[in-house]
């Protein structure tokens, strides 16, 4: 496997993605939804009080990206993370193009690496687009007022923005872990419906565990726990334990899923 070979596959996959309507629709939704949410909050009297920072969404625009972050953890991140990853491999099965693809000058490992890089890149792009759009929507529609954090301290605007950027960065590892899970399911089932749908179902099932007061270790071993690790960044003093364990768990899921997916793809009999 060579790096230029993998990058060549990545370029081709990115060009294919850029030509798809789905890609544009997903990115447009990431950009538009936070503005629609912030505008709705501005005009309506009720507040999303069941979500962290929902109470102060009219007081400070910096609450908007945090409410979006809390809400997105339920099913939006698993869906965004698997919309491309869950389809990249199974699409070749659907169109019957594996035989054409693998008779070209790129080996299976390069095709695998190129497709995984594309899926990971798209997931990171959706998270970044949602983050930037949420901050912009909050600041432009509500305003850059100081934010009351999870310890009751008033965070000045610049500090609030830093913490929010870190909080959004903290959901990248679990988002990429979901992408790896989607890649694995896409390779294993050869079905895009399973590749995209099952990670969302898995995410919702893991979220359900949060409502069951089960063993703490099991809760920490779920990818979705890492989506809430940012809470520690908005406390005074900040605590990083959940962030560290969330990153470790996400990395473990990512590596295991990719290793199994690669093993399956390498052993697959493409001639059938």
């Amino acid at each position: 496997m060579s790096v230029p070979g993998s990058l060549a596959v990545t370029r081709v996959e990115c060009a294919k993605l850029a030509a798809q309507l789905k890609t544009h629709l997903v990115l447009a939704a990431c950009v538009i939804s936070p503005f629609a949410f912030a505008a709705a909050m501005r005009v309506q009297s009720s507040l999303p009080e069941d979500t962290l920072f929902g109470r102060c969404v009219k007081e400070s625009g910096f609450a908007v990206p945090l409410v979006v972050l809390g809400f997105a953890a339920l099913w939006v991140f698993p869906a965004l993370s698997s919309v491309v990853g869950g389809d990249l491999f199974s699409a070749e099965d659907r169109y019957g193009t594996w035989t054409t693809l693998l008779t070209r000058s790129r080996c299976r490992s390069e095709v695998f690496a190129g497709k995984v890089l594309t899926a990971m890149g798209f997931s990171a792009l959706t998270v970044a687009a949602l983050a930037a759009s949420s901050v912009a929507a909050g600041v432009l529609i509500v305003g850059p007022q100081p934010l009351v954090d999870l310890s009751g301290t008033l965070l000045p605007s610049a500090q609030a923005l830093n913490r929010i950027a870190l909080a959004w960065a903290s959901v990248l590892p679990p988002a990429l872990a979901f992408t790896a899970l989607a890649v694995l399911l896409s390779v294993a089932t050869r079905s895009s419906a399973a590749g995209i749908g099952l990670p969302v179902v898995a995410g919702l099932t893991m979220q359900l565990y949060a409502f069951v007061d089960g063993p703490e270790l099991i809760r920490r071993l779920l990818i979705t726990s890492a989506f809430g690790a940012w809470h520690g960044l908005l406390a005074e003093p900040p605590f990083y334990g959940p962030l560290i364990s969330g990153m470790a768990v996400s990395t473990a899921y990512l590596l295991v899923c990719l290793l199994i997916a690669y093993g399956m793809l390498r052993r697959r009999d493409i001639s059938r």
Partner: protein, 146 residues
């Protein structure tokens, strides 16, 4: 096939280990909740005072002490409904008593709602006539469960 069997047994052993060692006591304890709600309440009272245009007070001046207990009979730890009784010093140094109903989730976040109306409703009026949110009426916070 044999390798698969070993792998399966290994995975089963690992899962059993996780379940056995993971079934320790819940990290949601009265000590952690009290340690979280005391400074949070004091910080919020500090902000509230400034929003209302009252003479400033440091968070430590409120001298908050909390005593929390789980509402589920026979259990002293775990997520769910809790009740916290707070004793604190008000702006005139008088001792005040308040109670909060808490919903605590397994990730260490809680929502506290005033159990009585001694702290006013959801909105208060500042000295200059503005309506401000009553930060002490309902608030949320998170603590480390590690």
């Amino acid at each position: 096939m044999r390798a698969l069997g070993i792998g399966f047994r290994g995975a089963l052993a690992a899962l059993t280990g996780v379940v056995v060692f993971g079934c320790g006591p819940s990290p949601i304890t009265s000590g952690r909740i009290e340690a979280a709600i005391e400074p949070t309440f004091a910080n919020l009272a500090h902000v509230q005072i400034s929003w209302l245009g009252l003479p400033p007070m440091a968070a430590s001046d409120f001298a908050v002490t909390a005593s929390c207990s789980r509402l589920l009979a026979g259990s002293s730890a775990g997520a769910g409904d809790w009740r916290c009784r707070l004793v604190w010093k008000g702006p005139d140094s008088q001792t005040l008593h308040d109670a909060y109903d808490l919903v605590v989730t397994s990730d260490g976040c809680y929502t506290a709602t005033a159990a009585e109306d001694t702290l006013g409703g959801p909105t208060l009026t500042s000295r200059d006539g503005r309506d401000v949110r009553n930060l002490l009426y309902a608030f949320e916070g998170c603590f480390d469960t590690a």
